[in-house]
């Protein structure tokens, strides 16, 4: 059944084509159901193919559909590599994707571009599957760019608001910086190995020169930094929250942003062949991003911004795992993160939906009575991300910290502190939204409400609500309500997985490490070995638990029983994201602008000058030389005669000199 693997991306592609042709005619909700059915079908096929893969030798199956680019010695096949890594990713991409599609049917209800939304979503799922399934770097790159462009379309889905379209442009352009690294990585790989097929160059990567492997690894890492929103290119992801919430859940939390992690894990033999400082750098950038984003998340007031910075932070954890050689752990955390972060985003979307498009947490509170299912599932997600046993995030995050400790105590300490912050800011979000007193009909404006929180708000039916936005004092009465079943069912399913996904891999015995054993063919050879005894592991688990509970407790005493002042934690510098965005804007507008103008001048005068100079030189020379063509036969005849005489003279003289 493993030969059905081509069907997995083909189904969403078919959904995309059908919606392109008949989307308007299908309308709402048929187009949504069609898109959902296609992704759900892909999930079923993925399960069937996964079961078939267990019988394949080495758990690896390649399928070549056709030769894509036959150009002399450079040949690229359009082929799929179905191995433990891609199969694990396919399952959660199609599974979570199908749930988010189902959720979108309810969330996008009444939108005037309803079919178009599902068209983009299906195209996105197709691209993501190409990215993961591609058996060479170019197919991966095709998917990589495909998800990028879908991300652009979906962030600017409500493009009537200028803030949304500029957020989309920011995301797209920031990603270009990373894509440059990915492309250079592909080129260098081709020059070095003569192939860009994973199954051909990865086994021989240890034979490459260390410098070459280092260059390839660093370039691919630059690509991963752009796509997976790490320092210094993270700044597009928080703005990407301008898109509809299901998009934030699917693209900017569960799947697309993990593409960089996937790429790094895929080329892990190359990282092993590179200089050791590459892995160290990846680990420090990862843990640095995790800490940096977590501090920002503490002070955000937008319910989605907290989750956005949290996503950046969790992706930092994944890169930490890669940097310390725990490649399978990165995938483990990616899977658990996909479940709990998709759950949290969908829960936030449900809250926003129920609150009539309110996103400021200071206008919420006490929602657990009115939205019981959303609240329950959100709490499961909260416990999972905070690292409370036995929820999934606990196991995967602790595994990362164990690997970090094995490598470097400093990495472990920073990671642990970030875990504390994670527990704190997620507890803050839960307390502000679901506990405390109801604040949604308070007339006074929150004192420090930043203008940008409203500008970047995620507003469905922009026209309908733009009037109350403009005049906040006449806000209509808000009646929070629970969402329809198409939105709560995905929440419940995701909550189930967020609770139990940790049991994919229990660290106590070799036989319970199902995920590690399954990924062994891909990550086992060059991954780090952690050889802690069971008592040590239990101690580490206890430390993680204590840290998580401490974070939750501190948040409790700040937001539920106010013993500690809020201003200790919500520092304005952190609310502004350490002014990083501002600094980039200032730099690009000031010194950067001068540098760009200089480059532009150089391009216009020197580069264009050289190109145009060749042209005008040729033309001017032609103007002079064309005078030689008089059109008179006698001139030509004279020329021939003189030439003949000169030739004759040359022949005769040659003997004498």
């Amino acid at each position: 059944m493993v030969s059905l693997v081509w069907l997995i991306p083909a189904l969403p592609l078919a959904g995309f084509v059908l919606l392109l042709l008949f989307g308007k005619r299908l309308g709402e909700p048929a187009s949504g159901w069609l898109a959902t059915a296609m992704v759900a079908g892909a999930f079923v096929v993925a399960v069937v193919a996964f079961l078939g893969l267990r019988n394949e030798p080495d758990h690896t199956y390649t399928q070549t559909l056709f030769t894509w680019i036959p150009a002399g010695s450079f040949t690229v096949d359009f082929g799929f590599l179905f191995d433990p890594l891609s199969s694990a990713m396919l399952l959660f991409i199609t599974g979570v994707g199908a749930l988010i599609h189902l959720y979108s049917i309810g969330y996008m209800h009444g939108d005037k571009r309803y079919p178009q939304f599902f068209l983009y979503l299906n195209l996105f799922v197709f691209s993501m599957l190409m990215l993961v399934l591609g058996d060479n770097m170019l197919v991966t790159f095709l998917g990589w760019e495909g998800v990028g462009v879908c991300s652009y379309f979906l962030i600017s889905f409500w493009f009537e608001k200028p803030a949304n379209s500029s957020a989309a442009k920011k995301a797209f352009i920031t990603n270009r910086v990373g894509d440059w690294g990915f492309m250079v990585g592909i080129f260098v790989t081709w020059f070095t190995f003569g192939t860009i097929q994973y199954t051909q160059f990865l086994p021989v990567s240890q034979g490459a020169a260390t410098t070459t492997a280092t260059v390839i690894s660093v370039m691919l890492f630059i690509g991963a930094v752009g796509k997976s929103a790490q320092l210094p290119l993270y700044l597009w992801l928080p703005d990407a929250m301008a898109g509809p919430t299901p998009v934030s859940a699917l693209i900017h939390a569960a799947t697309m942003v993990t593409a960089g992690v996937y790429l790094m894990v895929r080329v892990n033999p190359m990282l092993h062949a590179a200089s050791p400082w590459v892995s160290t750098m990846i680990a420090w950038i990862g843990v640095g991003t995790a800490l940096f984003a977590a501090t920002i998340a503490i002070a955000q007031h937008d319910i989605k911004k907290v989750l956005a910075y949290s996503t950046v932070s969790q992706l930092g954890y994944m890169f930490l795992a890669i940097g310390v050689g725990g490649y399978w752990v990165a995938i483990f955390h990616m899977i658990t993160h996909a479940f709990f972060k998709a759950l949290l985003f969908l829960g936030a979307g449900s809250v926003i939906h129920g609150m009539d498009d309110e996103q400021d947490m200071r206008r919420m509170g006490a929602l657990r009575k009115l939205m019981p299912i959303t609240a329950m599932t959100f709490i499961v997600g909260w416990l999972a991300i905070s690292g409370v046993p036995p929820f999934s995030g606990f196991w995967s995050k602790d595994e990362i910290l164990t690997y970090a400790l094995h490598q470097n105590v400093a990495l472990y300490v920073v990671g642990l502190f970030t875990a504390l912050l994670t527990a704190f800011y997620m507890s803050r979000e839960v307390y502000l939204v679901f506990y405390g007193k109801a604040r949604w009909n308070e007339t006074d404006e929150p004192t420090t409400l930043e203008a940008h929180a409203n500008v970047e708000a995620d507003v469905a039916d922009a026209d309908a609500v733009s009037v109350p936005d403009a005049a906040p004092e006449v806000r209509p009465e808000v009646h929070p309500h629970e969402s329809p079943w198409v939105m709560t069912v995905p929440l419940v399913v995701l909550a189930l997985f967020a609770a139990v996904a940790g049991f994919l891999n229990l660290p106590f015995s070799h036989s319970t490490k199902y995920l590690e054993n399954w990924l062994e063919p891909v990550t086992g050879r060059y991954g780090a070995e952690v050889t802690y005894s069971n008592p040590t592991i239990v101690v580490l688990l206890c430390i993680s638990t204590v840290v998580a509970l401490t974070g939750i407790a501190v948040a409790y005493f700040v937001y539920i029983k106010p013993r500690l002042p809020v201003r200790w934690f919500e520092h304005p510098v952190m609310a502004k994201g350490w002014y990083y965005d501002w600094a980039v804007t200032w730099f690009m507008g000031g010194p950067g602008r001068i540098a760009f103008d200089a480059i532009s001048w150089f391009d216009r005068t020197v580069i264009d000058g050289a190109v145009n100079g060749v042209g005008s030189l040729t033309r001017d020379a032609g103007d002079v030389l064309r005078k030689a063509q008089t059109g008179y036969v006698r001139t030509y005849a004279l020329g021939i005669a003189i030439g003949a005489v000169l030739l004759m003279a040359f022949v005769l003289m040659r003997g004498t000199i």
């Binding site: 030389l625 005078k627 063509q629 008089t630 059109g631 008179y632 006698r634 005849a637």
Partner: protein, 109 residues
């Protein structure tokens, strides 16, 4: 001195070469200074025949049959060239009666 006595005295082959050179020079100069296309064509013929004569002379001097053989090739080429040249001259004369070679200078740069 009778005509018969003249024929017995063998003329030095050098004189044939000198004659060839004279004929060639006349042809070349004629081609350069005349404007009438027909005359220019005849000058070309003159140059061809001068070369032919030189070939034959060298063939005799060096006792090489190749010098004689090449005459056939020159004849063929000259015939072909004359056909094309005359055809062009006729065609030009039809459109522009009385045109000389300098009038046909449309291909100037």
């Amino acid at each position: 001195m009778t005509l018969a006595s003249l024929s017995i005295v063998p003329l030095s082959p050098v004189w044939y070469l000198v004659l060839g050179a004279f004929l060639f020079t006349i042809g070349a100069v004629g081609l350069l200074i005349r404007r009438n296309p027909l005359v220019m064509l005849m000058c070309v013929e003159l140059m061809l025949n001068a070369v032919t004569l030189t070939f034959v002379t060298f063939g005799t001097m060096l006792n090489d049959i190749g010098g004689q053989v090449i005459v056939f090739f020159v004849l063929v080429v000259a015939a072909a060239e004359v056909v094309v040249g005359l055809a062009i001259i006729v065609a030009v004369s039809r459109r522009r009666p009385g045109a000389n070679a300098d009038d046909i200078s449309l291909l100037r740069g």
